[in-house]
């Protein structure tokens, strides 16, 4: 993976000093909160309901065991012994004190990490394919390009105060695992007929209140031009993106308003002046950065490990895990292992300090000391020998990291929701837990097969509700109660689509029954091994809708204990309830 040189380290160190002084000025009231707010946000620090939340960048989701151990250290020293991995491959700590944050950044800088631009109206952390470099279907390794863009976007002077946040994702495989179609800019690294590397550039995708699939602005952009082309896009956006209404400020609204043809014309006019200028990437720089992403020292393994097959046939739990959490690797004898952070009764994406240390140990022992964070909020060990899988599974199981549910119903995405976030209308995590408890039966989950259930506490869609096969969104009604809208047919990847709302919203207690009914329709209608999303696409949402609303859904009295986020043992006092 990439390692800082003196320049990277110096820039991050200077950031720590700058931020430390900003916090000092805030604490001495030299800076008003209104002025400090955008400064702390550009450093990933939010003021949540209970405490400060710090979002730390994990560039394109890749990190070393040493860095993960630092997260465990931060969790223990400054937080409540856990962290929360996010859909943009970052990590968040939820219970921090403002006074501690400069020290946390200094700790991070000591392991080549930072929180730069993890929030605010600027270019955010670049995300990528969690299987980059090891995927069977990879065309070009996207990591060097993602790192080059990380550097280019870090403290870009002209684009630090954009109309709204700006997210870029890069994918280099046939199957898009980075959700590039729902990013402000989605880059697909491809090869043309001549074998030259370039990008297919999407622009104007996004989730939030107005979910939109990105439009192609350039079918093939030679790799040298990526930075100048993106600069042109951003300059147009910075000048013409709306600033009068926060809900209409993302680039997707500008692209829709102008039309992709006119937007492209403006971008290309702007780009004509930048093309081949000093911002053009050189092969020397590409080679330099690529030198950090060479393949590790794989062993030459030719035979299938016989122990694996026999252990699999004897142990059903292992067999389930192997089927669900272990993915094919491009090198014979190796596998990609997904460590699940989705366990019934734990918030999706949460990991304890002990689990982080355990995962770091697993990485050191079995996977060249590296890990990845997935956009579905799990961890990945990318280079595991098949012959190590049994041992690894046993250790992962002992540490609660081996739920065999990757891609299944309980592999949910959920935002933090109203217990933490001031934006949310409704709770997400207790709902996720309630759903996980209701469908806890793994055989049932395996029967349902691949499905994506995504939950957001509000329209801002941090939980990717609009691209969930089943999407659940907390909505606000006049009574200020807690209501959930259910959508169907959303999807990420090569065939991205936005889900359709099935009808009137439901109460907290009704949602699991709604999901049950949707699944019943699927089981009734599916043809052979058809996935949930394919059945929805084939028959449309009407049969689902009819069945869900046909009979009344009981709305039982809610247990008072559900109102307390049990895991965190704090009183729940969102002003909304």
């Amino acid at each position: 993976m990439y390692r800082y040189d003196q320049y990277d380290q110096q820039i991050v160190n200077e950031r720590v000093a700058q931020y430390r002084d900003q916090v000092r000025r805030r604490l001495s009231n030299e800076l008003a909160e209104a002025e400090f707010r955008p400064l702390r946000l550009q450093n990933g620090l939010y003021m949540q309901i209970h405490a400060y939340m710090l979002r730390i960048a994990v560039p394109y989701g890749l990190l070393s065991s040493r860095q993960l151990r630092m997260f465990a250290h931060i969790a223990r020293k400054y937080d409540r012994d856990y962290g929360h991995f996010t859909t943009r491959q970052n990590i968040q700590f939820n219970w921090l004190k403002l006074e501690d944050t400069p020290e946390i950044l200094a700790d991070l800088a000591s392991v080549e990490m930072h929180a730069i631009q993890t929030s605010g109206n600027c270019i955010r952390n670049i995300t990528s394919d969690e299987y980059a470099g090891v995927a069977v279907d990879e065309v070009v390794d996207p990591r060097p390009y993602a790192e080059i863009l990380r550097q280019w976007s870090t403290f870009h002077p002209e684009f630090a105060y954009l109309p709204r946040k700006f997210k870029i994702a890069v994918s280099g495989a046939k199957e898009d695992r980075a959700a590039i179609a729902v990013h402000d800019i989605g880059l697909s690294v491809i090869k043309n007929a001549q074998g030259e590397v370039g990008y297919r550039v999407l622009v104007g995708g996004g989730l939030g209140r107005t979910p939109i699939i990105g439009s192609v602005i350039c079918e093939f952009l030679p790799w040298q031009h990526v930075m100048t082309y993106i600069e042109a896009i951003l300059r147009i956006y910075n000048q013409y993106g709306r600033r009068d209404n926060i809900y209409k400020a993302r680039i997707k609204i500008l692209v829709k308003a102008l039309g992709i043809e006119e937007f492209k014309r403006q971008v290309e006019t702007e780009w004509a002046d930048l093309k081949d200028g000093p911002g053009t990437l050189t092969s020397e720089e590409l080679n330099r950065v690529s030198s950090y992403f060479t393949a590790p020292a794989y062993e030459k393994i030719t035979d299938v490990d016989p122990g694996l097959a026999s252990f699999k046939s004897e142990n059903k739990a292992f067999a389930n895990w192997l089927d669900q959490n272990v993915k094919p690797h491009r090198v014979p004898g190796y596998a990609i292992v997904v460590l699940s952070l989705k366990k019934t009764d734990v918030a999706p994406g949460d990991a304890s300090a002990e689990q982080m240390d355990a995962a770091a140990d697993l990485a050191d022992q079995f996977s060249f000391g590296e890990l990845r964070i997935t956009h579905k909020q799990n961890l990945v060990l990318a280079d595991v020998k098949n012959s190590d899988l049994v041992t690894l599974w046993k250790i992962a199981t002992a540490n609660g990291l081996a739920s065999p549910n990757i891609g299944l119903l309980s592999d949910m995405i959920s935002c933090p929701g109203a217990e933490f976030c001031t934006l949310a209308n409704a709770r997400s995590i207790p709902l996720a837990k309630m759903i996980a408890a209701r469908f806890d039966n793994l055989d049932f989950q395996h029967d349902i097969g691949e499905i994506e259930l995504n939950i957001s506490g509000c329209m801002n869609a941090c939980g990717h509700n609009s691209v969930g096969n089943i999407g659940i969104t907390g909505v606000e009604k006049k009574d200020h109660g807690e209501w959930y809208q259910v959508s169907l047919g959303g999807s990420k990847g090569n065939n991205s689509s936005i889900g359709k709302i099935i009808g009137p919203s439901f109460s907290f207690n009704q949602v699991p029954e709604v999901i049950d009914r949707l699944l019943q329709v699927y089981l009734r209608e599916r043809i052979e091994a058809e996935r949930f999303i394919d059945t929805v696409r084939r028959i449309g949402i009407k049969p689902f809708k009819e069945f869900v609303y046909a009979a009344e859904i009981a709305d039982g009295e809610e247990e008072i204990s559900v109102f307390k986020p049990a895991q965190y043992s704090v009183p729940f006092y969102s002003q909304r309830f």
Binding site: R3, W152, P157, E158, P163
Partner: protein, 174 residues
Amino acid sequence: MIIKNKAIVNDDWTVLRLAENEAPENVTVPAGKVIVPLKVWCAQREKLQDRDDLGVWFASDERPEALKDDIGKFTVIAVDFPKFGDGRGYSIAYYLRARFGYAGELRAIGDVLRDQMFYMQRVGFDAFAPRPDRNIQDALKGLNDFSEAYQAAVDQKSPLFRRVQRNENTSADL
């Protein structure tokens, strides 16, 4: 007092801002060194073009192209930041410097604060009128927050990777 070329200096320019009841066509531009709104310059160009003691300032929603043909007339151009979170002024500065070759003083006015000044400097501002309720000595420090930058900008035409020898990965593994 303003900051100019990284030093605190006296300032003898006045910034003319229109009151609500004033129109750009008929507002009186006082004598002496005045930085007038772009709208006033455009509306009264005939009358003002022979004065050599004028500057022009841009509102954040105005287009830099509007001054393209007149740019050589001015030794001071200013860009107003109505709120520090309004980033359009950075692109206006970029155009004035990088596209239209403006080489005179480029001044940031309005909600100008220490923590944005490093970025402002990079896109071509060389003069800053920090918000009057702030200590100008402190504001000056903001220009030195970072000693290096990755990307090309107006102040440094070449990105880091073209300027210095950077490390390659020499270790076989981590």
